[in-house]
Each structure stands twice: as C-alpha cells, then as structure tokens.
C-alpha cells in the first residue's frame, strides 16, 4: 500500500472537516471577526461622533468631512499585518486539536490512513487554511468598507483595503536596509525567513508535544529561551571584547558563500530538526495522555 495516497488524503480531509465542522467554523468566525471589527467600528465611531456633537451641523456637511477620513486605509493594513501572525500562531497551536480528548485520539489514530496523510492534512489545513481564510476576510472587510462607506457617507470611490495591504507587503521599505552586496542581502533575507519559519514551527512542535494550552506553554518557552539567549549573548560579547581583534578579522577572509552557509545552514538544520521532531511525535502519539510522552 502506498505511503501517500491522494484519494485517502482527501478522505482524511473530508472526515476531519465533517467531525470538526463547528471547530473550523468558530476559527473562521474569529479570524473574520478580528479582521472586520476595526472596519465596522470606524463607521460606528463616525456615526457616534456625529450624534454626540455639541454644535450639530447637517449630516450632509458632516458626511463630506468624514468621508475624507475614510480614504485613509493604511491603519487597517498595518493592523492586518500584525493580526496575521497572531492568527497563524493560534491556528498552529491547534494543529493536532483532534488529539486533545481520549475519544479524539482513538478516532484519529485508528483511522485507516497513513501518518503522512494525516500529518500532511493537518499542516495543509492549518497553514493554507489560515492564509485563505485571512485573504477571504480581508476581501470581505473590503466589501463591508465599500458598502458602509457608500450607504452611510455616500463614498463612491473608496480606497481598497486589499490593494493597500498588497502594496504594504510588496513595499521595499519593509526589507531590512543592508549596506552590502546583493548576495549578502539575499543571504540575510534567507536567514530572516528561516528564523521566522522556525519561530512559527515552535508552536507546531508545541502542539505535537502538549495537546492542550499549547499557546501558553510555547510562549513560556519563548520567554525563557530569549532571556537565556540574551544572557548568553551578553556573556559572548564580553568574551569577544577580550579577544584580539586581529583574530576576529580573520572571519572576513571567509568567502561570501561561506558566510552565507555559516549563517543559513544551522538555521535550516534547526528548522528541519523541529519538523522532523513534530512528525515523529505525531507518529508516536498514544491514547493515554494529553501530553505526548
């Protein structure tokens, strides 16, 4: 029998969505709600401000003043960019939510599908699912923005939230300004991407290790880890301060590709190790406890 059968993968997806439909609907509503709330709130605030005015003006006058403010959509885009990682982390914490209860573990682990198929579905569902839901929520927020702007303030040319978000994501200013060669810049970008993926992967690993309260445990881990890292970094800096600078200059002799490898290979190795460990923990899950021994 094949280790990965696409039909069986689809069956796993169908089964999971069927038995966890309410859970997924709740997650979608929460994400969409978080995206929509500031858009709706802004309109409600504008109406509330008008009603609370001590020196009332006609609504048509107020509309023309308020409408100018609704063309500014940048604040939304920054909010979306902050919200997305939070939503992704939250969903990654629920990657193996099926395993939180004993019955869930029995259902999941006795399902006639391979570990690869079940694991792949959980990853695809949480990662791609979150991205798709987030995009759909922004589109919905855009629609709400257009409808409310037109209905309440007669705005016929509203600025698109989706376009503004895309613009922000593709802006060059977001990239770290690095005064080096293009190769060094690429290397640093690779390193930051790997670092970001590793950060997200800690939550995935956490969900395979501890089925309940994953977010709290991983957050605690990060607090402890970064405190220890800062202390070690400080100690390292003290040591380097006492080293002959000529010896350190030898590092510059390493060719650019070597520096690239020195920076990115360990980061990639850590990322791969985390995914391997997550998969292994998932495969070795048992019916007994909420903690995966």
């Amino acid at each position: 029998m094949k280790a990965f059968d696409f039909n069986r993968f689809l069956n796993v997806a169908r089964w999971d969505i069927t038995i966890n439909r309410k859970f997924y609907i709740r997650q979608i509503v929460v994400i969409a709600g978080c995206v929509l709330i500031p858009v709706i709130f802004r309109y409600l605030k504008a109406v509330y401000s008008y009603l609370m005015m001590t020196d009332p003006i006609s609504f048509s006058q107020y509309k023309s003043i308020a409408a100018l403010g609704f063309h500014d959509v940048n604040s939304y885009t920054y909010y979306f960019c902050l919200l997305f990682p939070v939503a992704m982390i939250q969903m990654l914490c629920y990657t193996f939510h099926n395993l939180t209860t004993k019955q869930g573990r029995i259902n999941e682990l006795t399902l006639p599908a391979t570990n690869q198929e079940r694991f792949a579905w959980h990853i695809v569902c949480k990662v791609l699912g979150t991205i798709l839901v987030f995009i759909a929520s922004i589109l919905l927020a855009d629609l709400v923005h257009v409808i409310l702007g037109w209905a309440m303030f007669g705005i016929t040319d509203p600025h698109s939230l989706t376009c503004a978000t895309c613009k922000l994501l593709t802006k060059n200013e977001l990239v770290v300004n690095f005064n080096g060669s293009a190769y060094a810049l690429f290397s640093l970008e690779c390193f930051f991407i790997l670092l970001g993926l590793t950060f997200y992967s800690t939550f995935l690993l956490g969900s395979a290790l501890k089925y309940k309260h994953t977010f709290g445990y991983v957050l605690l881990f990060h607090v402890v880890f970064w405190i220890v890292t800062v202390i070690l970094f400080g100690m390292g800096a003290c040591v380097i301060a006492h080293i002959d600078m000529d010896k350190l200059a030898a590092l510059n002799a390493i060719p650019e590709w070597g520096q690239h490898l020195l920076l990115n290979v360990p980061a990639l190795a850590v990322l791969c190790a985390m995914w391997w460990l997550t998969y292994r923990l998932y495969c070795r899950a048992q019916v007994t406890t909420r903690r995966n021994p």
Partner: protein
Amino acid sequence: MSYFCSVLFNYYTMIDVKNITFGYNKYCNVLQDFSLQFKKGGVYGLLGKNGTGKSTLLYLIMGLLRPKQGEVRVDGILTSQRLPEVMQDMFIVPEEYDLPRISLAEYVKSLKPFYPKFSDELLARCLEGFDMTPNVNLGSLSMGQKKKVYMCIALATNTDYLLMDEPTNGLDILSKSQFRKVVIQSMSEEKTIIISTHQVHDVEHMLDHVCIINQNSVLLDTPLVEDNGPIDLEKLFIETLTNKTVEE
C-alpha cells in the same frame, strides 16, 4: 511435522500478542511478559479482575499504545505501525466516548471510504435491532443511545476484528438483550469480536471462547462448548481465580 504445525498455527492465529510488557509509568507494569493468541472467527470474551489490563490489552492490539517490550501482530503485521491495510480491518468501541454533533448520515459518509467492506444494509439492520432510526443527530443522543449507534457503525464497518470495551455498560436491560441479538445477527465466519467486560451475564450466551487474564498470564483460554447445558461464566470466572490463588 513440528514446522507444519507451527505454520498452521500461525495461519490461524490472527491476533498474536507476544511477550508484551506495558505500564503507564516506569515503576509499575500493567502487563508483564504477556502472551495471548486470538484465532480467526468467533466471539471472544476477555475477562479479568479490575486493573488486570483488559482495556490496555485492547488498546495495545489496536496500536493505540506502544508496549515497552514485545509486539502485537494482526495477520502478521505489527499494529503499532498503524498501517491503513491493518486499520481498515479493525475497529474499536471504547468504553467511553463522545460523538460529534452532526447527523448519523454525515458521520457515516465521512467514515465509509476508509472501510471497504462497510455495509449500509447491515447498519440499517443493526439500528433496527436497537429500535433506532437512521435519521438521528448524534449530538442529541443520550449516552446509551450514542453507545448503541456507535456499536451499529462498528458492526457495519464489517471489519474482520472488532474490539469492544465494556459494551453493555450504560445500556438498559432491553438494550442489552438487543445488543446480543444484533451482534449474533451480524456475525460471519471471518469476523472476530473481542469483548472485554465485567458484566459476564450480559455476554455469556454469545461467547464462543473465553480468556481470563491477569497481569502476566492467561489463566484460562478455552472454547465454550454447551454440550452439557449452559455455562455459568461467573462460576467459571470465580473458580479460575480461586484455583490460581490456591496455586500461588
């Protein structure tokens, strides 16, 4: 001759529990160097005192637990690997469980593709046997009703191995009688049902074979023959345990 016997034995031994040791912590083992074989076909009763590891044994057979030592094979394949070709021929009805808040039809539709021998006809027959209709929402059922529905689904999967942990717990008197009828009706030569229970009277007339176990050995592993009238399983259970205590 001995080789021939061993080949023949392995052929008919479909579930082979071999020298397993298992404990929920490292200080105390529930099962210690335990071995047991279940042959193809029939209803097995798995009996034992509280805490002797009956449920644990079922979970080990299903591959839901990893033994510290030893192995469990079903049709020659290790169950701890949880391969689809093995899992599609096995189903477990645990003692306690919860069903999702969806309709039975939706639940069955999502589960059916995984079990190639799934029979809608058998499901309908089992539900009818329990006086239940197929148009039910699983979330609105009582614990007993959920148990009946889940057992119907388990039987309808038509898997060769069906493991039931305390299946009659939480069922009323009528339902217990219906349970016996439903199980007997759905039996076939290929099917092996292992029932772990304390309620010996609920299942004694449907068992073909009984295994009485304790932590590290099988105290009794015998077919039940009713040539000399009905067998009192409770008496047999007490006698077996008493004899064991005297021996010790």
